[in-house]
């Protein structure tokens, strides 16, 4: 592993905010392979055409061996109690129509297979690109006559993780052309726009500096193929929009709201940067 010291020209604002120290260490993503129940999960793939990267790396590759291990066994993965909840909710009748998810979608292992890999995607009835959570809530309010779930509720996280699990191991493959193009372009613009008191963009960390240490943390490419993800920091599972909010707070920007058009667009664009990596939901990170 090569270790180099690099110096940075960084804004005075940031210096004042952070008490900047001029050193950094490069630590390449590690070379470990992820197997879950004997099934290989692709955490490293050649970048598709047009990608700013040569190779794509799942965030799993940037974590320590101890953290990685927790994702290699579903009984050690602390996200699984919520998957159990999602499994139950799939069958549970709720709302005025007397239906459950299973009433229409039957066996999730068949009907939901591959769904997570294409999210976010165009929702015909709503008329715009929507995250998995919004597809779920549309079914709940319009088809089941049930109340919408809150974005970060256990129910929604559990359902998103359960639906996501049906695509585990499948390559991320979101649509970014046709009716999805506008959202993709909006997301791309957000990704490269510097915001907040620290005047930083997503790209400043996750494109230009991945692999380096941001103090004690190993910067990843910001891939989102593992969401919803169990994080030690949160001590629970959370959505990618919650993660976006955390990044924005760190750079002293006013975060958008979970489920906002901005975050859906950003989610689509960031997902497209990870095309070919396996869906890992529910992943485990620090």
């Amino acid at each position: 592993m090569s270790k180099r010291i690099k110096v940075l020209g960084f804004g005075l604002t940031a210096l004042a905010m952070c008490g900047l120290s001029y050193s950094a260490v490069v630590a390449e993503p590690n070379n470990n392979q992820l197997m879950i129940d004997g099934k290989k999960i692709t955490t490293n793939v050649k970048a598709p055409k047009g990608s700013p990267f040569e190779k794509l790396y799942s965030g799993w590759r940037f974590r320590s061996a101890e953290t990685q291990k927790l994702q290699s066994d579903d009984f050690e993965n602390p996200g699984f109690p919520l998957v159990d909840l999602g499994t139950e909710l799939w069958q549970k009748v709720d709302g005025s129509a007397g239906k459950s998810c299973a009433s229409c979608h039957n066996d999730a292992s068949k009907s939901m297979k591959g769904v997570r890999a294409t999210m976010p995607k165009m929702h015909k009835e709503i008329g715009k690109v929507q995250s998995l959570q919004q597809h779920v809530n549309y079914c709940r309010t319009e088809r089941m006559g049930a109340k919408a779930w809150k974005w970060e509720s256990n129910q929604m996280l559990g359902m998103a993780a359960y639906v996501g699990l049906q695509s585990r191991g499948m390559p991320v493959n979101v649509k970014i052309d046709g009716p999805a193009k506008a959202a993709h372009d909006k997301g791309k613009k957000l990704y490269y726009t510097r915001v907040g008191q620290l005047d930083m963009s997503c790209a400043g960390c996750h494109e230009e500096n991945f692999g380096k240490m941001i103090r004690a943390d190993h910067l990843s490419q910001g891939q989102i193929n593992g969401f919803p993800t169990y994080r030690f920091k949160w001590q629970k599972m959370g959505s990618v929009h919650r993660r976006f909010k955390g990044c924005m707070k760190n750079i002293r920007a006013k975060p958008y709201k979970v489920g906002s058009d901005e975050f859906v667009a950003l989610e689509l664009y960031v997902a497209s940067r990870g095309k070919g990596l396996s869906v890992e939901s529910p992943a485990v990170r620090n």
């Binding site: 009984f75 109690p81 629970k236």
Partner: protein, 107 residues
Amino acid sequence: MARPRVKVPKSASKDEVITIKTLISHKMESGQRKDKKTGEKIPRKIINKFTAKFNGTQVFAVDIEPAVSANPFLQFTVKVPESGEFEFTWLDDDGKTYSAKKKITVN
């Protein structure tokens, strides 16, 4: 709501030492944190005891303090002399108990 998960092999040979994994969803509120809005301490609420019984006999137990992580995970071993049933119990500070049972066949 706490949700227990346990992994026990379905079968084993006589006197085989088997590995058991358990995990229960629980916030493990340490009693050390303060409410950001009110500034008051959030009262402690943890799983404080875990027991594993095999055919009614305690084979393993843990006294748990707030320094155990949220969603407590425990892995341990048991030597199984005969077919039977495991019963796992988690005791919450609020007096609630959560339990799970698993059968094992010894050939």
